[in-house]
Symmetry: C2
Subunit: 241 residues, 2 copies
């Protein structure tokens, strides 16, 4: 018995990985806001590990683009400029386009089926306004798409891009009509894959991401306006003291 456990357990999860995952999750989930400072001591208390270990975790997150570390100022949650956002969405469109193409070419019927089903699930969850269900279905969709594409390097690259763009993950669910449209786009991808139409799969993926990018840039502009307003107010209050 114990030997079986030893065979599946050995992941040998390290304290550092836990801390890292915890911080990553907090950023991706939006608990830690872009621009927010993350003093090492604070992260240590938050995750219950020492400063040495925190620093290692932070370095990892830095190279994923989730945190920015400026010398002698310490880590902050990364802030995306408009240009970076554009670049990332453009890159994402390229990669997902290729994923769609490869999945249509190489995907098994089982994977195509999984793709279609995940779209159905997403739609149902959305109709019931179960946000978590929507997100799960979305994850399932990408798992199937990238599984079908059969390229691990591509999967990894897209994974970090998704994390960096996690800021905008909720944008669609709050924009009237966008999710419904999104479902249509995703279904187009799944159907292209099921039909083994590589060109259509690529086009559909690109189209989907371009639509998402458009919305994200609007949201970004709004946040920037909001932030600027906050700044003005804060200055006003400050001067009022």
């Amino acid at each position: 018995m114990s030997s079986y456990a030893a065979l599946s357990d050995p992941p040998a999860i390290s304290v550092r990985q836990i801390a890292e995952e915890q911080i990553r999750a907090a950023i991706v989930a939006g608990d830690l806001l872009p621009g927010q400072r993350l003093p090492e001591r604070m992260l240590g208390e938050l995750t219950g590990v020492g400063r040495t270990t925190v620093r290692e975790a932070v370095r990892q997150l830095e190279s994923e683009g989730l945190v920015t570390v400026v010398p002698h100022r310490g880590p902050t949650v990364a802030v995306l400029t408009e240009q970076e956002t554009r670049d990332l969405y453009e890159l994402r469109a390229m990669l997902e386009g290729q994923a769609g193409r490869l999945c249509a070419q190489r995907g098994t019927p089982v994977q195509a089926e999984a793709l279609l089903r995940s779209v159905d699930t997403l739609e149902q969850a959305w109709l019931r306004r179960q946000i978590s269900g929507v997100m799960d279905a979305n994850a399932a969709f990408y798992a199937a798409l990238l599984g079908g594409a059969g390229n691990d390097a591509l999967r990894q690259a897209l994974g970090t891009i998704h994390n960096r763009l996690a800021l905008f993950r909720f944008s669609s669910t709050r924009w009237p009509g966008r999710t419904a449209q999104s479902v249509v786009e995703l279904r187009a991808i799944a159907e292209a894959v099921a039909a083994r139409d590589a060109a259509a799969g690529e086009r559909a993926c690109i189209h989907h991401i371009e639509a998402a990018a458009e919305l994200a840039l609007i949201v970004l502009a709004e946040r920037a306006r909001g932030a600027a307003q906050d700044r003005r107010q804060r200055i006003a209050i400050h001067q009022g003291d």
Copy 2:
């Protein structure tokens, strides 16, 4: 004066970055061989920094895919399996294809000119068998291509892929006729960009990488055979003791 220096100097290069760059360079240059173990203490002596700092640097290199860290065994120079090599070259072909397309679409005439010139320089260097000149020209080529593509996220992504595939960087210069052929391919890219023919630029880039991948997989297979032979010999010697 000093204030001007303070404005441009502040890069404030850290000891960690130096160590990191040193290790990265050693791996990319092939001074440290794939599979070789890299005990923290050894890296510390090599780079002249403490273990804490080494570990941070290693984490960064790990997330770039240059080193692999197995728990309680420490870092080793990453070894590429055949599948990983295939995946990476496939991804690289996608990304460089897109770079070629974007560069043809957006590149300025100046950048197109730089592209063409770097091909000429490369050819000249090759005819004189100046390997370092070839590598410099190659770097210039990619700088121009990615500059023209105007997407920083793309540039970064391709940068790490190039590093991971650095193992095969010298393959072409040792394969009779390959470099000459490579020059032809690169010129095709540059000319497509100069002609602002996006589709041709994409095709030419993909073709170039597919040719490089083919060669790399041959080299990889040979190395694997060589390694297997080494292993056999080592075992034989060992048994002979």
